[in-house]
Amino acid sequence: MRAFEGDGTVDKYKTRLPLQGWSVSLELIMRFIHRYQASVFKKEGSAWSFLFREVSRITVDAFERKAPVVWTTAYVFPMEMIWALGLIPVDFEILAGFLSAAYQTGPMLRASDRFGLPQDTCTVHRIAVGAALSDQLPRPDLIVTTTHYCDGKAKTNEIMAQRYGVEYLLVDMPLEDTEEARAYLKGQLLLVFERLSELAKIPCREELLSEAVASFNDMTRCMRRANDLRKSTPCPFLPNNGGFILNFVGTLLYGSHLAPTLYELLDSQWRKELEERKFPQEKFRILWLMASPTFQATIFEWLEDRGARVVMEELSHCYWGEMDPSRPLDSMVDRMFSNTFMGKAERRARTAVELAKSYRVDCAIHFGHLPCRQANGALKLLRDALEEEGIKLIQLEGDLADPTGWDEVRVRNHLSAHLEMLQGEISGRRAWARGTHRGFENP
């Protein structure tokens, strides 16, 4: 195992951020990204640059109140409804990620502490509450979210609704997929759509959603193509676990005309870079489960230096089927029920195994965001399911948004030990295959 302290390895990965140590408002951050994204990301025309230009533009529009603003949770709520009606979506979990990436979490967490929110709740939600209390977020006209994924999300929205004095719609997502459950969910989606139409001052007609659904289908096709590229060796990737960030932040664009462009750009960028042989061969293929740090954790560069590449993330998985533009609400119900993160953990574990197999991974890394009960509570089932298929699960624990407790050296030591073992196993397997092992007969 390598020693990291004192050998200069840590320094190599230290990044100086222009915003570290400065207090900057979220609005300023978003305006800055929007204005200077080409210089910030240095890759004009890339999917990454496109995503941040558009997301920052949407957020700036929300600050300027160019249309009614709807706060929602982009990774669970059918975003087609918001885009089809010309409303502006804001997801405070994504904005909390921006604050974290810009090292602005301290004042937000302090504001949340002063408010009285216990420190054992989710940091992302605490940052969002702190940001709302500090008037950092664009004001909502309506709040809508769902009950699935986690309890904290729905509860945070309740605080936000109180704080801003706006209506709060909660879609109660049943966990059992039955005919009654589907009817119950569809009824709720219809009510939400009616309310959103009122807000947009547009007569409520389901056909309005067809175009957004068609756009979602286009996006799905491009996203699948890009994901399929990741099955190749060498696997294309975006630095610093960019695949995860792109897919997570990209949910804000789902259902808009921007989403297909995002994934077309990603697909063509990766195809071109594969042709140009820009990606080095990987030694270890990794499936990344659950969350990823939103601040600058240089662990991904470190992994890449050791030939360990994240080839797929659980949250980048395109779990849904083709939607039917002539039955938008029914299709949304189908999609929501096909969410592999929803409900019981067995389903999530099954999906992790399927992903591990189809992306031919050597191991999986589960980044457990400490306060995330629903994800970490399923760890035993995930571990058992993966290990049954001979796939090692490495557990990392940390806080995805608050960098103060992140110990890069400890994380590297932990991963280093696992990678060494993995290397031994892989060499052993190859030796068996060649018959050059020592000590035992090749069966």
Binding site: P118, G152, D172, L175, A345, P371, R373, Q374, K380
Partner: protein, 346 residues
């Protein structure tokens, strides 16, 4: 786990106060509350995530030793859903799951009624239960609710100590209803608490799962008099009867989704209203919140409760319950200081 129960297979273990006990009772089954003895001690079981709420972890730990053959889990929170997942893998047995809505709209009531109908069928191996049996158990449970509401009303007028009533609730959860209620009534008539209750300041106790009798005792020993509560197995559990008539499953679903809500339900406003109502009705001087560590549902309500009562000038004490005994000494000191604050009229 409740060791007093006979080790028969007619027990149905339950955890969440939103589980309608009427259904297993109607089918001749014995609802058995799983408390995990209200304590976590020894090493953490590596199979369960260490930052799940201590109630869930304590139940999991206790279940490794002794558990009913049938258990029902409700979709009350993330931790409970994960406990359900682990239970199936680690302990097996007959595991039921109630898809409990978080909203109380008429559509949610109909959906929950269907869920309950399905559960009743599962318990009876696919056969529809008789309506008459269900109505009998609903009437029986309404009688139990009225009985305990009566005891809590005596707590409100300082005629009975809160700890005494909570202990009787615990006994009722452990023993068959008929004999237990009779014994409690006899005991109550033989006791005369008037004058022994002290003239300490009245407080409202707000919590989720408070299985630790010692915390309630600490509050009383500090010289505070609990005159009302907002707790899963306290007044909330006995609030509102099931309306008799119509479809029994609809009636049950309506009662369970419309009653005094716990933090898991959407609409903290209703919970705050109920808290404010009992605070004013009972002339309480302050509020003691005993919050369950790692319980996200209740954690997010805390600032809103604090804000509400701070504006009204009502003193509030926040205690953290992690199901260990290590914090009890500190709690005693804080409770005594709170009593002094209330005495001096801050």
């Amino acid at each position: 786990m409740e060791s007093h129960r006979p080790a028969s297979d007619n027990r149905v273990g339950w955890l969440c106060s939103y589980t309608p006990m009427e259904i297993p009772l109607a089918l001749g089954l014995l609802p058995t509350r799983m408390s995990g003895q209200g304590r976590i001690s020894g090493a953490t079981d590596p199979r369960i995530y260490h930052l799940l709420c201590p109630y869930v972890r304590s139940v999991f730990k206790a279940a490794a030793q002794l558990r009913p053959e049938r258990v029902v889990f409700a979709r009350c929170c993330d931790a409970m859903v994960r406990l359900h997942d682990l239970w199936k893998v680690c302990f097996g047995g007959k595991v039921h799951f109630l898809d409990l809505p978080k909203i109380s709209s008429p559509e949610a009531v109909s959906y929950f009624a269907n869920v309950l109908r399905g559960w009743a069928k599962e318990l009876r191996d696919g056969a529809e239960p008789e309506e008459e049996e269900l109505w009998d158990s609903i009437t029986e449970m309404n009688r139990v609710r009225a009985f305990f509401r009566g005891l809590f009303s005596e707590v409100a007028r300082r005629a009975l100590p809160y700890s005494w009533v909570r202990e009787r609730v615990r006994l009722w959860l452990e023993y068959p209803t008929e004999g237990t209620l009779k014994a409690i009534e006899e005991e109550r008539q033989a006791l005369h608490f008037d004058g022994k209750m002290g003239k300490g300041p009245g407080v409202i106790l707000s919590s989720t799962m408070l299985d630790q009798g010692e915390i309630v005792s600490l509050i009383e020993e500090a010289g505070l008099v609990v005159v009302g509560d907002d707790e899963c197995l306290g007044e909330r559990h006995f609030h509102m009867d099931v309306e008799e008539g119509g479809d029994p499953f609809e009636a049950l679903a309506h009662r369970y989704l419309q009653r005094w809500p716990c933090p898991r339900m959407k609409g903290v406003g209703r919970r705050l209203e109920e808290l404010e109502r009992i605070l004013e009705e009972r002339g309480a001087a302050g509020v003691v919140i005993v919050y369950l560590k790692f319980c996200d549902q209740s954690s997010f309500d805390i600032p809103l409760i604090q804000e509400k009562f701070r504006k009204k000038g009502v003193p509030l004490l926040l205690l953290e319950n992690d199901y260990t005994s290590s914090a009890l000494g500190q709690m005693r000191t804080r409770l005594e200081a709170f009593r002094e604050i209330l005495h001096e009229g801050f």
